[in-house]
């Protein structure tokens, strides 16, 4: 594909002459659409326009410099040679350096594409496209309108280089700002999650305290009935105690105490919030965390995103089920050095095509809802040690996330 570009450009040059820049741009747009199917249109536009424009500007500035040194006559003589060698090479080197500067920003924008406003990229794109049109349109104006050298041409190239440099700086600042915003938001969420967890635990504790208070009274009344030596009275008292006090301690809500084994705080927060949320929707949650879970080899922010999506999906699907339930199991396989998170839920009778649920626009809930699992897929791509197993059987949907301790290489 890369080889076809010069060929296409050459044909384009013959056909379009000064408007040849349209060719590489459309070429990049098409290639971008094919290769980076997940990217937004804005992103692809940015790639295409940026590549074409920055290449052209640097190549042209090199040409201008050479022209300045060797004079017009010699330049015209060697124009094709220069256009083929020095200018492209210079342009490529400049672009490689620039690329190094903007790569972190672009990588960030790609990774968190749903977290930022597309507007600012649109602004950059329009600006670049305008510059591009001016730059290339210049030749056309010179040739057909002014029929002489354009007086502002010399300054234009300096302005364009300035534009590119400013753009790079702006992009860096903007992404840094976005990143800060994102982290702040995550921190806020985390704090909110943990606060609700603490509240729940406090409620449990005060329940326990009141039980402890009653406990003494209970013992006294039991003692009294034993003293009567009447078995039926004793039985009666015992049954009454079980009825009034015993049940409280078997309440499902004490399951939250099991989160104690989950030592990664942000994840603890995510789980407690979701479990409480499920309870509020009258979905029973069965929780098993028998092993101490800590130091999972995965970046916390990615971890938070994956688990929240899985839990959100599970709760949402269980809501529609005839017999709703959600099961969460965290376990550690010491021998295999692996942590397994199983999240399963009942769902409505509609059959699910598990091959398709990871597609970007697919969702059982209608349009624009299918981002969750596709996002998980994107995150998983960055890790070699994560595997995800998805099962659907007899109305139970199950996701198993396997986190393997990376073997140092």
């Amino acid at each position: 594909m890369a080889i076809s570009l010069p060929l296409i450009s050459f044909i384009g040059y013959l056909l379009l002459n000064y408007w040849v820049f349209v060719v590489p741009i459309s070429y990049f747009l098409i290639i971008g659409k094919i290769i980076k199917r997940d990217s937004s249109n804005n992103m692809i536009w940015f790639y295409s326009i940026y590549s074409t424009f920055s290449y052209a500007v640097f190549a042209y500035s090199m040409n201008a410099t050479i022209l300045f040194f060797i004079g017009e006559d010699t330049f015209t003589q060697y124009m094709y040679l220069i256009n083929m060698t020095i200018s492209p090479i210079f342009s490529m080197i400049c672009n490689l350096i620039l690329l190094r500067l903007i790569r972190p920003s672009v990588y960030f924008l790609e990774k968190y594409k749903e977290n930022w406003n597309q507007f600012f990229l649109l602004f950059i794109n329009i600006l670049l496209t305008l510059c591009c049109i001016i730059q290339f349109g210049n030749y056309w104006i010179e040739r057909y309108l002014i029929k002489d050298e354009n007086p502002i041409r010399k300054y234009l190239i300096a302005i364009f280089i300035l534009v590119i440099v400013l753009l790079v700086i702006y992009l860096n600042i903007k992404t840094r700002q976005l990143d800060k915003q994102r982290i702040q938001q995550l921190k806020d969420n985390q704090l909110a999650d943990l606060t609700s967890y603490v509240q729940q635990i406090e409620a449990m504790y005060s329940e326990l305290r009141s039980f402890r208070h009653d406990y003494h009274n209970v013992m006294i009344s039991l003692n009294q009935s034993i003293k009567t030596k009447d078995l039926s009275v004793i039985e009666d008292t015992y049954a009454r105690i079980l009825e009034t006090e015993g049940i409280v301690l078997e309440d499902d809500h004490y399951a939250l105490g099991k989160l104690n084994n989950l030592k990664t705080l942000p994840i603890k927060g995510i789980f407690s919030t979701h479990i409480i949320q499920a309870w509020q929707k009258n979905i029973p949650v069965h929780l098993e965390i028998e092993d101490i879970i800590q130091d999972e080899p995965i970046e916390v922010l990615d971890y938070v995103r994956i688990t929240s999506i899985l839990l959100d999906n599970a709760i949402e699907a269980a809501e529609d089920a005839e017999n709703p339930f959600v099961t969460i199991v965290f376990l550690k396989n010491k021998k295999e050095k692996e942590i397994q998170l199983t999240i399963e839920n009942s769902c409505s009778d509609e059959p699910i095509d598990i091959v398709r649920i990871f597609d970007k626009d697919f969702s059982t809930k209608g349009k624009n809802r299918g981002l969750g699992l596709a996002t998980i897929q994107t995150i998983l791509q960055n890790y070699t040690n994560l595997s995800l197993q998805t099962e659907y059987q007899d109305g139970v949907f199950r996701q198993i996330l396997m986190i393997k301790e990376e073997i140092p290489r």
Binding site: E288, N333, I354, Q381, S387, Q389, K404
Partner: protein, 251 residues
Amino acid sequence: MNIFLLEDDIMHQQRLELVIREILLEKRWPAKSIVTTARPETLLKKVQETVDQNIYFLDIEINGEKKKGLEIASQIRTMDPYGVIVFITTHSEFAPITYAYKVSAFDFIAKDSPIDTIKQHLVDCFENLLNNRASEKKEETFFFSNQHSNFQVPFSDILYFETTEISHKLRLICKSRLVNFYATLGEIESLDERFFKVHRSFVVNLENIAQIDRSEGVVYFDQNHSCLISRRKIRPALEKMNAINQIFQKK
């Protein structure tokens, strides 16, 4: 059938043993021995002596040690991979999925549930043990393990493996499940003779192929699942399928 009961509370121990004996009598199931003890060491010693259709009822917290039962269970598993392990415990210790994964525990029975419920659970456990024996043929499981991931699925469930947009990330497509993991197709193909690379991005399980469409170049597994096959692989695939079918008929 050998029955093992580990419980440190004498009251519970006696009560359970009584229920078990009752069931055996009612159903006329013969038991070679019933070992009831509060000491893990005694139990393990007895298990060493006899591994023959054993069923174990274990408490989890023994003499104040919170996870002793699980520890004992995994030691039992090294000696007796097929015995039925049942945990009899308090409700707050319930973790059936975890223990099923770790020591293939069959059931959890709550100590504090009514005696009829306990009895019903026990009957189920015994029936599982006895039926298990009758149909010893276990379903073949495909274990995958490399430095990045490990998982297991029933072999007969496997349809095909495919590559994803990310190099070395593979996706296994089964009848009712999907596994995303890190490996190469070549690695997969060499794991079993029934795996065959039919296309540069697909390895299929030859056993589950329903039909190969020569003109379209598509392999069909069932109504919902299909993958591509390159033309020059059609003939070797058919030959391999025949060879495998013959092996299985001989068996």
